[in-house]
Protein backbone atom coordinates (compact mmCIF):
# COMPACT_ATOMS: atom_id res chain seq x y z
CA UNK A 1 0.00 0.00 0.00
CA UNK A 2 1.25 3.45 -0.90
CA UNK A 3 -1.14 6.39 -0.86
CA UNK A 4 -0.22 9.80 -2.10
CA UNK A 5 -2.41 12.50 -0.64
CA UNK A 6 -2.67 16.22 -1.28
CA UNK A 7 -4.32 18.50 1.25
CA UNK A 8 -4.88 22.04 0.05
CA UNK A 9 -6.61 25.28 0.97
CA UNK A 10 -5.96 28.83 2.09
CA UNK A 11 -3.28 29.60 4.60
CA UNK A 12 -5.04 29.62 7.93
CA UNK A 13 -7.35 26.74 7.09
CA UNK A 14 -5.09 24.31 8.88
CA UNK A 15 -3.87 22.42 5.87
CA UNK A 16 -0.50 21.73 7.46
CA UNK A 17 -1.99 20.56 10.72
CA UNK A 18 -4.24 18.13 8.86
CA UNK A 19 -1.20 16.77 7.03
CA UNK A 20 0.92 16.30 10.11
CA UNK A 21 -1.98 14.66 11.90
CA UNK A 22 -2.10 12.07 9.13
CA UNK A 23 1.62 11.53 9.56
CA UNK A 24 1.43 11.02 13.28
CA UNK A 25 -1.42 8.62 12.80
CA UNK A 26 0.39 6.78 10.05
CA UNK A 27 3.46 6.45 12.21
CA UNK A 28 1.34 5.20 15.07
CA UNK A 29 -0.07 2.63 12.66
CA UNK A 30 3.52 1.52 11.92
CA UNK A 31 3.46 2.82 8.42
CA UNK A 32 6.09 4.81 6.59
CA UNK A 33 5.07 8.44 6.23
CA UNK A 34 6.34 11.67 4.73
CA UNK A 35 4.91 15.15 4.74
CA UNK A 36 5.93 17.95 2.41
CA UNK A 37 4.45 21.44 2.67
CA UNK A 38 4.29 24.11 0.04
CA UNK A 39 3.38 27.74 0.55
CA UNK A 40 2.41 30.05 -2.24
CA UNK A 41 4.21 33.28 -2.88
CA UNK A 42 1.45 35.05 -1.04
CA UNK A 43 1.68 35.66 2.63
CA UNK A 44 -1.01 34.26 4.88
CA UNK A 45 -3.97 34.83 2.63
CA UNK A 46 -2.50 32.77 -0.15
CA UNK A 47 -2.93 29.12 -0.93
CA UNK A 48 -1.09 26.41 0.88
CA UNK A 49 -0.88 22.72 0.33
CA UNK A 50 0.91 19.70 1.59
CA UNK A 51 1.73 16.31 0.24
CA UNK A 52 1.47 13.30 2.49
CA UNK A 53 2.55 9.79 1.66
CA UNK A 54 1.48 6.80 3.72
CA UNK A 55 3.06 3.56 2.70
CA UNK A 56 3.93 0.06 3.82
CA UNK A 57 7.43 0.21 2.36
CA UNK A 58 10.19 2.84 2.56
CA UNK A 59 9.36 6.09 0.82
CA UNK A 60 11.69 7.73 -1.67
CA UNK A 61 10.63 11.13 -2.85
CA UNK A 62 8.15 12.98 -0.64
CA UNK A 63 7.06 14.91 -3.71
CA UNK A 64 4.85 13.39 -6.36
CA UNK A 65 3.02 14.62 -9.37
CA UNK A 66 -0.09 12.41 -9.31
CA UNK A 67 -2.19 11.94 -6.22
CA UNK A 68 -4.41 9.11 -5.06
CA UNK A 69 -6.37 11.43 -2.85
CA UNK A 70 -7.05 15.15 -2.82
CA UNK A 71 -8.51 16.91 0.21
CA UNK A 72 -9.49 20.35 -0.92
CA UNK A 73 -10.57 23.01 1.52
CA UNK A 74 -11.22 25.79 -0.97
CA UNK A 75 -12.05 26.34 -4.58
CA UNK A 76 -8.82 27.68 -6.07
CA UNK A 77 -6.83 24.80 -4.70
CA UNK A 78 -9.37 22.36 -6.02
CA UNK A 79 -9.02 23.91 -9.45
CA UNK A 80 -5.28 23.68 -9.20
CA UNK A 81 -4.93 20.12 -8.03
CA UNK A 82 -7.82 18.05 -9.34
CA UNK A 83 -6.13 17.51 -12.72
CA UNK A 84 -3.34 15.66 -10.97
CA UNK A 85 -5.62 13.14 -9.28
CA UNK A 86 -5.14 9.65 -10.65
CA UNK A 87 -7.92 7.81 -12.38
CA UNK A 88 -9.99 6.17 -9.71
CA UNK A 89 -8.76 8.53 -7.06
CA UNK A 90 -10.85 10.25 -4.43
CA UNK A 91 -11.38 13.97 -3.99
CA UNK A 92 -12.77 15.47 -0.81
CA UNK A 93 -14.22 18.95 -1.19
CA UNK A 94 -15.32 21.44 1.42
CA UNK A 95 -18.81 22.00 0.13
CA UNK A 96 -19.39 24.80 2.63
CA UNK A 97 -17.24 27.04 0.47
CA UNK A 98 -17.67 25.67 -3.00
CA UNK A 99 -19.23 22.90 -4.95
CA UNK A 100 -17.71 21.81 -8.22
CA UNK A 101 -20.26 20.95 -10.88
CA UNK A 102 -20.99 17.29 -11.32
CA UNK A 103 -19.04 16.83 -14.52
CA UNK A 104 -17.86 13.53 -15.83
CA UNK A 105 -14.69 12.96 -13.84
CA UNK A 106 -12.38 10.01 -13.60
CA UNK A 107 -12.32 10.26 -9.84
CA UNK A 108 -14.82 9.97 -7.09
CA UNK A 109 -15.87 13.15 -5.31
CA UNK A 110 -16.88 13.37 -1.68
CA UNK A 111 -18.54 16.60 -0.61
CA UNK A 112 -18.46 17.56 3.05
CA UNK A 113 -19.86 20.85 4.36
CA UNK A 114 -16.79 21.06 6.58
CA UNK A 115 -17.14 24.69 7.65
CA UNK A 116 -20.68 24.14 8.72
CA UNK A 117 -19.91 20.94 10.58
CA UNK A 118 -16.93 22.56 12.22
CA UNK A 119 -18.96 25.55 13.27
CA UNK A 120 -21.41 23.16 14.86
CA UNK A 121 -18.51 21.62 16.75
CA UNK A 122 -17.58 25.02 18.06
CA UNK A 123 -15.15 26.61 15.62
CA UNK A 124 -14.87 26.97 11.89
CA UNK A 125 -11.12 26.47 12.33
CA UNK A 126 -11.66 22.75 12.77
CA UNK A 127 -12.93 22.32 9.21
CA UNK A 128 -9.60 20.70 8.36
CA UNK A 129 -10.12 17.98 10.95
CA UNK A 130 -13.69 17.42 9.82
CA UNK A 131 -12.25 16.67 6.39
CA UNK A 132 -9.79 14.24 7.93
CA UNK A 133 -12.65 12.47 9.66
CA UNK A 134 -14.42 12.05 6.38
CA UNK A 135 -11.17 10.91 4.76
CA UNK A 136 -10.75 8.24 7.45
CA UNK A 137 -14.24 6.93 6.91
CA UNK A 138 -14.10 6.88 3.16
CA UNK A 139 -10.59 5.53 2.56
CA UNK A 140 -10.03 3.29 5.53
CA UNK A 141 -6.31 3.94 5.19
CA UNK A 142 -6.11 4.93 8.81
CA UNK A 143 -8.18 3.83 11.70
CA UNK A 144 -10.17 6.75 13.19
CA UNK A 145 -9.10 5.66 16.68
CA UNK A 146 -5.45 5.95 15.69
CA UNK A 147 -6.03 9.40 14.32
CA UNK A 148 -7.86 10.37 17.48
CA UNK A 149 -4.93 9.22 19.60
CA UNK A 150 -2.57 11.29 17.47
CA UNK A 151 -4.33 14.58 18.02
CA UNK A 152 -2.38 15.41 21.19
CA UNK A 153 0.91 14.83 19.35
CA UNK A 154 -0.08 16.95 16.38
CA UNK A 155 -1.28 19.66 18.74
CA UNK A 156 1.51 19.39 21.26
CA UNK A 157 1.37 22.17 23.79
CA UNK A 158 -2.12 23.20 22.73
CA UNK A 159 -4.08 21.07 25.15
CA UNK A 160 -7.07 23.38 24.96
CA UNK A 161 -7.71 22.46 21.37
CA UNK A 162 -7.62 18.71 21.74
CA UNK A 163 -11.25 18.18 22.61
CA UNK A 164 -12.76 20.31 19.96
CA UNK A 165 -10.60 18.67 17.33
CA UNK A 166 -11.50 15.23 18.55
CA UNK A 167 -15.11 16.25 18.28
CA UNK A 168 -14.57 17.55 14.75
CA UNK A 169 -12.87 14.33 13.75
CA UNK A 170 -15.79 12.26 14.91
CA UNK A 171 -18.25 14.63 13.30
CA UNK A 172 -16.39 14.33 10.00
CA UNK A 173 -16.23 10.58 10.32
CA UNK A 174 -19.91 10.34 10.98
CA UNK A 175 -20.97 12.97 8.46
Amino acid sequence: MKKEIIISGFGGQGVMLAGTLLCYAGMRASKEVTFFPSYGAEMRGGTANCKVIISDSPIGSPVFSEADILISLNCPSFEKFYPSVKDGGIVFVNSSLFSPPAEERSFEMVKIPANNIAEECGTVLAANIVMIGSFAKKTGILDPETILQSIPEALEGKEKLWDINKKALSAGFNA
Binding site: A41, E42, M43, R44, G45, G46
Partner: protein, 233 residues
Protein backbone atom coordinates in the same frame (compact mmCIF):
# COMPACT_ATOMS: atom_id res chain seq x y z
CA UNK B 1 -5.27 51.08 -9.86
CA UNK B 2 -7.77 48.29 -9.48
CA UNK B 3 -6.08 45.06 -8.76
CA UNK B 4 -6.37 42.36 -6.14
CA UNK B 5 -3.16 42.16 -4.22
CA UNK B 6 -1.56 39.46 -2.17
CA UNK B 7 -0.95 41.12 1.16
CA UNK B 8 -2.50 39.80 4.33
CA UNK B 9 -5.68 41.22 5.77
CA UNK B 10 -5.00 44.65 7.19
CA UNK B 11 -1.45 44.93 5.86
CA UNK B 12 -0.15 48.48 5.57
CA UNK B 13 1.71 47.84 2.31
CA UNK B 14 -1.55 48.06 0.38
CA UNK B 15 -2.32 51.53 1.68
CA UNK B 16 1.19 52.75 1.00
CA UNK B 17 1.10 51.36 -2.53
CA UNK B 18 -2.07 53.28 -3.21
CA UNK B 19 -0.64 56.50 -1.80
CA UNK B 20 2.46 56.12 -3.93
CA UNK B 21 0.51 55.58 -7.08
CA UNK B 22 -1.69 58.56 -6.36
CA UNK B 23 1.30 60.80 -5.70
CA UNK B 24 3.11 59.62 -8.78
CA UNK B 25 0.07 60.32 -10.88
CA UNK B 26 -0.41 63.73 -9.33
CA UNK B 27 3.22 64.62 -9.96
CA UNK B 28 2.93 63.23 -13.47
CA UNK B 29 6.14 61.27 -13.19
CA UNK B 30 4.86 57.80 -13.94
CA UNK B 31 6.68 57.73 -17.23
CA UNK B 32 10.00 58.80 -15.84
CA UNK B 33 10.14 56.89 -12.63
CA UNK B 34 12.31 53.86 -12.08
CA UNK B 35 11.45 52.04 -8.90
CA UNK B 36 13.47 49.49 -7.01
CA UNK B 37 11.36 46.90 -5.28
CA UNK B 38 12.75 45.32 -2.16
CA UNK B 39 13.12 41.76 -1.10
CA UNK B 40 10.38 41.54 1.49
CA UNK B 41 6.62 41.41 1.46
CA UNK B 42 6.53 44.14 -1.18
CA UNK B 43 8.78 42.16 -3.52
CA UNK B 44 5.84 41.86 -5.85
CA UNK B 45 5.18 45.58 -5.79
CA UNK B 46 5.72 45.48 -9.52
CA UNK B 47 2.53 43.53 -9.97
CA UNK B 48 0.67 46.65 -8.90
CA UNK B 49 2.88 49.48 -10.07
CA UNK B 50 2.43 50.68 -13.56
CA UNK B 51 5.96 51.98 -14.05
CA UNK B 52 9.44 50.62 -14.66
CA UNK B 53 10.56 48.54 -11.74
CA UNK B 54 13.44 46.28 -10.88
CA UNK B 55 13.95 43.92 -8.05
CA UNK B 56 17.26 44.37 -6.26
CA UNK B 57 19.06 41.95 -4.01
CA UNK B 58 18.01 42.04 -0.36
CA UNK B 59 19.19 45.29 1.19
CA UNK B 60 20.88 46.74 -1.89
CA UNK B 61 18.25 49.04 -3.37
CA UNK B 62 20.14 52.22 -2.40
CA UNK B 63 23.26 51.13 -4.28
CA UNK B 64 21.19 50.14 -7.29
CA UNK B 65 19.25 53.38 -7.19
CA UNK B 66 22.35 55.52 -6.77
CA UNK B 67 23.87 54.06 -9.91
CA UNK B 68 20.71 54.54 -11.94
CA UNK B 69 20.31 58.12 -10.83
CA UNK B 70 23.89 59.00 -11.67
CA UNK B 71 23.47 57.57 -15.12
CA UNK B 72 20.00 58.97 -15.77
CA UNK B 73 19.85 62.10 -13.62
CA UNK B 74 16.62 63.30 -15.17
CA UNK B 75 14.69 60.18 -14.24
CA UNK B 76 13.03 59.78 -10.86
CA UNK B 77 14.53 56.94 -8.90
CA UNK B 78 12.79 55.51 -5.91
CA UNK B 79 13.44 52.61 -3.60
CA UNK B 80 10.74 50.89 -1.59
CA UNK B 81 12.22 49.01 1.34
CA UNK B 82 11.20 47.20 4.47
CA UNK B 83 12.94 47.57 7.79
CA UNK B 84 14.80 44.32 7.42
CA UNK B 85 15.93 45.30 3.97
CA UNK B 86 16.93 48.83 4.82
CA UNK B 87 18.09 48.69 8.40
CA UNK B 88 19.46 45.16 8.80
CA UNK B 89 21.22 43.68 5.81
CA UNK B 90 21.17 46.89 3.80
CA UNK B 91 22.25 49.32 6.50
CA UNK B 92 25.54 50.14 4.86
CA UNK B 93 24.17 50.79 1.40
CA UNK B 94 21.56 53.08 2.95
CA UNK B 95 24.09 54.90 5.10
CA UNK B 96 26.36 55.58 2.17
CA UNK B 97 23.70 56.57 -0.33
CA UNK B 98 22.37 59.00 2.25
CA UNK B 99 25.84 60.24 3.02
CA UNK B 100 26.66 60.75 -0.63
CA UNK B 101 23.47 62.72 -0.88
CA UNK B 102 22.39 60.66 -3.85
CA UNK B 103 19.33 62.37 -5.26
CA UNK B 104 16.96 59.48 -4.75
CA UNK B 105 13.80 58.92 -2.75
CA UNK B 106 13.50 56.13 -0.23
CA UNK B 107 10.13 54.82 0.88
CA UNK B 108 10.87 52.99 4.07
CA UNK B 109 8.12 50.76 5.39
CA UNK B 110 8.73 50.03 9.04
CA UNK B 111 6.58 47.19 10.28
CA UNK B 112 8.85 46.23 13.14
CA UNK B 113 9.51 42.75 11.81
CA UNK B 114 10.50 40.66 8.83
CA UNK B 115 7.07 40.14 7.36
CA UNK B 116 7.95 38.04 4.37
CA UNK B 117 9.97 35.41 6.13
CA UNK B 118 7.48 34.91 8.91
CA UNK B 119 7.74 37.68 11.44
CA UNK B 120 11.27 37.45 12.81
CA UNK B 121 12.91 40.23 14.75
CA UNK B 122 13.90 43.25 12.67
CA UNK B 123 16.27 46.00 13.74
CA UNK B 124 13.13 48.06 14.39
CA UNK B 125 11.39 45.47 16.52
CA UNK B 126 10.53 47.28 19.72
CA UNK B 127 11.69 46.22 23.16
CA UNK B 128 9.83 43.23 24.59
CA UNK B 129 8.08 42.56 21.29
CA UNK B 130 7.61 38.87 20.75
CA UNK B 131 8.66 37.62 17.33
CA UNK B 132 9.55 34.20 15.99
CA UNK B 133 13.21 34.80 16.86
CA UNK B 134 12.60 36.63 20.11
CA UNK B 135 10.24 34.10 21.65
CA UNK B 136 10.62 35.70 25.04
CA UNK B 137 10.41 39.27 23.75
CA UNK B 138 13.21 41.43 22.39
CA UNK B 139 15.65 42.29 25.12
CA UNK B 140 18.89 44.21 25.48
CA UNK B 141 20.93 41.24 24.30
CA UNK B 142 19.23 41.51 20.93
CA UNK B 143 20.06 45.19 20.58
CA UNK B 144 17.90 48.26 20.56
CA UNK B 145 15.34 49.35 17.97
CA UNK B 146 17.20 51.40 15.38
CA UNK B 147 15.75 54.81 14.66
CA UNK B 148 16.57 55.29 11.03
CA UNK B 149 15.33 58.88 10.69
CA UNK B 150 17.17 60.04 13.77
CA UNK B 151 20.35 58.44 12.48
CA UNK B 152 20.25 59.57 8.88
CA UNK B 153 19.40 63.15 9.72
CA UNK B 154 22.93 63.38 11.17
CA UNK B 155 24.40 62.90 7.72
CA UNK B 156 25.16 65.97 5.68
CA UNK B 157 23.99 64.32 2.52
CA UNK B 158 20.34 64.03 3.55
CA UNK B 159 17.83 66.74 2.67
CA UNK B 160 14.36 65.62 3.66
CA UNK B 161 13.49 63.02 6.25
CA UNK B 162 10.09 62.41 7.78
CA UNK B 163 8.40 59.66 9.73
CA UNK B 164 4.68 59.07 9.29
CA UNK B 165 2.27 56.20 9.77
CA UNK B 166 -0.82 54.69 8.18
CA UNK B 167 -2.80 53.82 11.27
CA UNK B 168 -5.45 56.50 10.85
CA UNK B 169 -6.99 58.56 8.06
CA UNK B 170 -5.16 61.67 9.27
CA UNK B 171 -1.82 59.92 9.30
CA UNK B 172 -2.50 58.35 5.94
CA UNK B 173 -3.07 61.78 4.51
CA UNK B 174 0.13 63.03 6.14
CA UNK B 175 1.97 60.09 4.68
CA UNK B 176 0.77 61.00 1.26
CA UNK B 177 1.95 64.57 1.71
CA UNK B 178 5.31 63.37 2.90
CA UNK B 179 5.70 61.08 -0.09
CA UNK B 180 4.86 63.93 -2.38
CA UNK B 181 7.32 66.21 -0.69
CA UNK B 182 10.04 63.58 -0.86
CA UNK B 183 9.55 63.00 -4.56
CA UNK B 184 9.40 66.72 -5.13
CA UNK B 185 12.68 67.05 -3.31
CA UNK B 186 14.17 64.76 -5.93
CA UNK B 187 12.40 66.42 -8.84
CA UNK B 188 13.84 69.73 -7.77
CA UNK B 189 17.30 68.22 -7.60
CA UNK B 190 17.72 68.88 -3.92
CA UNK B 191 19.06 65.51 -2.89
CA UNK B 192 18.39 62.50 -0.71
CA UNK B 193 14.90 62.13 0.74
CA UNK B 194 13.41 59.41 2.90
CA UNK B 195 9.95 58.80 4.30
CA UNK B 196 9.66 56.21 7.01
CA UNK B 197 6.13 54.88 7.35
CA UNK B 198 5.01 52.88 10.37
CA UNK B 199 2.89 50.16 8.91
CA UNK B 200 0.64 47.41 10.20
CA UNK B 201 1.74 43.80 9.93
CA UNK B 202 -1.07 41.95 11.68
CA UNK B 203 0.22 38.56 10.65
CA UNK B 204 3.80 39.18 11.68
CA UNK B 205 2.62 40.56 14.98
CA UNK B 206 0.08 37.79 15.58
CA UNK B 207 -2.61 40.44 16.09
CA UNK B 208 -5.88 41.03 14.33
CA UNK B 209 -6.08 44.08 12.09
CA UNK B 210 -7.84 46.21 14.70
CA UNK B 211 -5.29 45.35 17.36
CA UNK B 212 -2.53 46.11 14.94
CA UNK B 213 -3.79 49.69 14.51
CA UNK B 214 -3.71 50.00 18.26
CA UNK B 215 -0.24 48.59 18.43
CA UNK B 216 1.14 51.05 15.90
CA UNK B 217 -0.44 53.81 17.87
CA UNK B 218 0.62 52.70 21.32
CA UNK B 219 3.85 50.77 20.99
CA UNK B 220 5.47 51.85 17.79
CA UNK B 221 4.96 55.58 17.98
CA UNK B 222 6.50 55.66 21.42
CA UNK B 223 9.65 54.13 20.04
CA UNK B 224 9.43 55.90 16.70
CA UNK B 225 7.91 59.35 17.15
CA UNK B 226 6.28 60.78 14.06
CA UNK B 227 7.48 64.02 12.58
CA UNK B 228 9.81 65.79 10.21
CA UNK B 229 13.41 65.08 11.15
CA UNK B 230 15.10 67.11 8.50
CA UNK B 231 13.89 69.54 5.95
CA UNK B 232 16.41 71.47 3.93
CA UNK B 233 13.99 72.03 1.12
Amino acid sequence: MKIRHHYCTGCGHGIIHRLLCEVIDELEIREKIIAIAPVGCAVFGYFYWNFDTAEAAHGRPPAVAAAIKRILPDRIVMTYQGDGDLAAIGGNEMLHAANRGDNITVVFVNNACYGMTGGQMAPTTVMNQITTTTPYGRNIEDGYPIKVCELLKELEGTVYIERTSVDSPANIIKSKKALKKALNCQIEGKGFSLVEILSMCPVGWRLNPQQSLEWVNKSMKKQFPLGVFKDRL
